[in-house]
């Protein structure tokens, strides 16, 4: 998965990716994890802040470039 993303990033030269799956959100190339609560997670990306609202939100996996959020996502918005 990561290999494909790296390849895509190399070929398309994107700053970030956001993939939404069923009850799952995968963010690639985030800069900082700002807030982490079971109902709200905010992530700082290059040009905006991604705010995810929902219930039972947890971080399932993370490193300094990508993060995988699981839970029931009700709302997602960008703040510039």
């Amino acid at each position: 998965m990561r290999i494909i993303k790296n390849l895509q990033n190399f070929l398309l030269d994107q700053d970030y990716y956001i993939d939404i799956f069923n009850n799952c959100l995968h963010v690639y190339y985030y800069q900082e994890l700002l807030t982490l609560t079971p109902t709200l997670i905010s992530l700082k990306l290059k040009e905006f802040t991604l705010i995810i609202e929902g219930t039972d939100l947890i971080i399932s996996s993370m490193d300094n470039h990508e993060i995988l959020i699981k839970g029931i996502i009700n709302n997602m918005r960008f703040e510039r």
Binding site: E32, L33, L36, T37, P38, I58, I59, S60, S61, M62, D63, N64
Partner: protein, 391 residues
Amino acid sequence: MKHYLKVRIKTTKKTDVILKLNKINVDIKYISYEKDYLVLDLLKNDLKRVKKYLLSYPVEIIDEVGLYKIKDNLKKHSLFFISIIFAIVVFSVLSHVIIKVNIIHQNKDIREMLKSDLASLGVTPLSFKKSYQEYEEIINTIKNNHKDEIEWLEIDVDGMVINVRVEERILTTPKEEEGYCNIIASKSGIITSILTSRGVPIVGMNDYVEKDDLLITGEISLYDEVKNNVCAQGEVYAEVWYSVKTKYPLNYTEEAKTGKMRFNIMVKNSTNEYTILKSRVKEKTVQKIFLFKIFNYEVYLEKEYEVIRKDKTYSEEVALKKALDNVHNHLSVNASPTKKIINEKVLKKSVKNGNLDIEIFIALEEQIGVAKPYTKEMDSDTGDTRNNGNS
């Protein structure tokens, strides 16, 4: 390959811990949330940093992850896995080893022959089994090597035992022409019986024959004309007379063991014998037991039995009996089934110089016929054959 560890951090503020871990850029492969714990799959290299930044949180390594977990398990249970592998190897090796080669045939010569052939072709106890094709090749090789001895051969693998079934080839070879022969007398005597299986008997019962007289001829004649020549066969028994002079010593030494026995060591080479210890027995008989051989020297254990020797004298009757036994042995009367004593008489008996001198007359019934070959010559005028033997 990245080395991940499963780490358990005791905390009630899980989100705070995750934020802190995020701040220090820790690579977390998987996060699971338990009641009072946060269980993380994180890099081994990051663990030191985690411990440093989460000083107030007890961090505990609970397991390895991925291939390292398998490696760790293998290390923990290495003895068990080594035992399993060893058992598999031993079992597989033993299942391919022959422990017995069973050659099924009544004839010992055939069994020995096959045993040596199979050994030369690598089918021996404690050797590895061969494939079906290899056994077929071995069967063909042995059958080709022993065309006249082996009719059929089968090698059957029964577990760790090789059963070799063989059928012997019985050749009915045509009897070779033996040439022509007569039966002549090897000794002089009076004929007592004639048994002719081939040829024509010349002599009759109670006929006196001299040595080399013709007894059974190989010429088959009809009306004074020789029709055929064969190798005469038959048995001719005659009463043969012998006059024998012999002597037998009346004095002899008798040995009696005292029950005393001493051990000794004897070394022997091709020319001499050396006794290691000094013999402590004066009069003795020695029993030698071979121990071992070094280069050209053979080493024996000797059992020296002490004996007492006494000089004794035979009575005339006993000496006569022993002398007669000697004569019988000399004439092979007891050893030969074709000889029988008809009459025996002691003609003279005297004691001289400690010996019993006797002269005996013996009449034996024995087989006197022996085959003597001859060549036949064709008469150029008549076409008749003529016996050219010496008889």
